[in-house]
């Protein structure tokens, strides 16, 4: 081995360095730094992401054992982060049930108790008063959102206005489900469109696809005092959602699949809300469809909502 060979081997870069190589190396270093800076918020966002959570598979691929472990982990997380003893369950769709909801616009007076009930039932972030429902004050004569206002604070009802509560309509043909690139959202047998909050990548396509503004994005980890956490939680419904995922109304499936009424219905002081099984011809919801003047929002889009509005 000659002396010149030794030099080349011992100093491979400096020996034959070209401008191009130097630029590549420098660029790679800067690029790495920029990438690290760009993703640094993620480190804070999911800093407590456990290996188990990282490796968790899609809801539909989970065995009963998997679920038991995941629910236990989530319950422990709720204890650790919120100081609350919660119970996470996973009620299944009841065979022969397809949910329908109807709201009586002759009776709704826009008081917004439904929004608050949703807020509390579904463990929403307290600082933003998040809720799956928005009540729009609408001028009589239109159903176009652009004329509506959800920020009113004056006494209700007001002359010349009507009140339009909007939440997820659990469409029969849900555009939000079609656009999800990772199948993190789907429609269950009973018509409820659910989200696997641990599978969602937070791309928000579904939010853009929903014609009814029914989906919400969790900009941050919800803040809820321990004593206000609702411990009655469903995996696909009201468990506390992580930051960075999309969520939506699920017709309170942790209640309704046990036969109970949704929280917003029980809270309504005007009795404007009617919930039930569309497949049961004797049900109240079917009686509404049979005997009242019923419409759905943006019918022309073909999403086929199963939340109906009606008049006395």
């Amino acid at each position: 081995m000659s002396d010149s060979d030794k030099r080349t081997i011992s100093l491979p870069v400096l020996g034959e360095v070209s401008r191009r190589t130097a630029l590549k190396a420098g660029g790679a270093t800067l690029g790495l730094a920029a990438f690290a800076a760009a993703v640094s918020p993620l480190a804070g966002l999911r800093g407590r992401l456990s290996a188990q959570e990282l490796m968790q598979r899609h809801y539909k691929e989970l065995s009963a054992d998997d679920k038991a472990k995941i629910f236990e982990r989530l319950e422990n997380e709720a204890k650790e982060r919120y100081g609350a003893d919660v119970k996470i369950k996973d009620p299944k769709a009841i065979p022969g049930v397809r949910y329908g909801y109807a709201i009586n616009l002759s009776v709704c007076n826009g008081n917004g108790a439904c929004m608050e009930a949703c807020h509390r039932e579904n463990n929403h972030d307290r600082s933003t008063n998040q809720s799956y429902i928005r009540v729009f004050e609408m001028p009589i004569g239109t159903t176009d959102f652009k004329h509506g206002d959800s920020t009113y604070t004056h006494d209700v009802p007001r002359e010349g206005k009507y009140y339009l509560p909007v939440q997820c309509f659990q469409c029969e043909n849900p555009p939000c489900v079609d656009v999800c690139p990772v199948e993190a959202t789907w429609q269950e047998e009973d018509g409820i469109v659910v989200v696997d909050y641990n599978w969602c990548i937070g791309c928000r396509y579904c939010q853009a696809a929903c014609p009814y503004h029914a989906r919400r994005f969790n900009w941050k980890e919800p803040q809820i005092p321990a004593e206000e956490v609702n411990p009655d939680q469903g995996y696909l419904s009201n468990r506390i959602r992580p930051a960075g995922v999309v969520e939506k109304c699920h017709f309170c499936l942790h209640r309704t699949r046990e036969g109970r009424q949704p929280a917003c219905l029980e809270a309504c002081p005007t009795g404007a809300r009617i919930f039930g099984n569309l497949l049961d011809p004797e049900s109240e919801i079917r009686t509404v469809l049979r005997t009242k003047r019923v419409f759905v929002l943006k019918e022309e889009l073909g999403a086929r909502p199963t939340l109906f509005y009606f008049f006395d």
Binding site: G96, G259, R260, P281, L289
Partner: protein, 215 residues
Amino acid sequence: MMRGRVLIPIVVLAALLMSIGLVRIMAGAGASPRSEFLAATMSTETVPDETPRWLVEISLPDGPPRVVTDRVDSMGRAVTVSCASCHSNFDANTSRRSADEPPMAFHQGLTFQHGNLSCVTCHNPDDYNALRLADGTRIEYRQVMESCAQCHAPQARDYERGLHGGMTGFWDRTKGPQKRKSCIDCHDPHAPKFPSMTPTFKPLDRFLEPTRPGD
């Protein structure tokens, strides 16, 4: 007048009906566009339902109300008396349509805005511990909804169908009971127009100022 008497037994009879095997036949085929619209997601098979159903409990007054007077007891609480404690001593004033006329000592705070009715349209001048219907039939306070239904038939019809009035409990009464409000839980019988309300809760997402960087 038959309504109230039907309502409660309906609740009790529901279990009976179910036990004799009330067969439900799914509607849908070839009717209105609405049912065609629904038919897409509906099975057309018959579903025999033999599951007994829980009762519907309607919150109704147990008896005559106590009337607030202008007196207070040693604890500062308003003294209340039964209707008959005074009205058994007075003849009924059938022309009276307001509590604002003197004497004011009784019926404190009572506002009356209910059409052109007089007190004894609903209250029974022969027995103030009871109500009466338009034909003079005496009814108990528990039967108050029969009184309302005499004039408000569409609401009474919708109530019977479960389309009017608030409720809590179970939508599926094979799994649990349902508790429904009565007319007078939401409508003050003396001023039945549903009151104006102040919204107490507003989601802040559309007009919230950022509270900290990154929010």
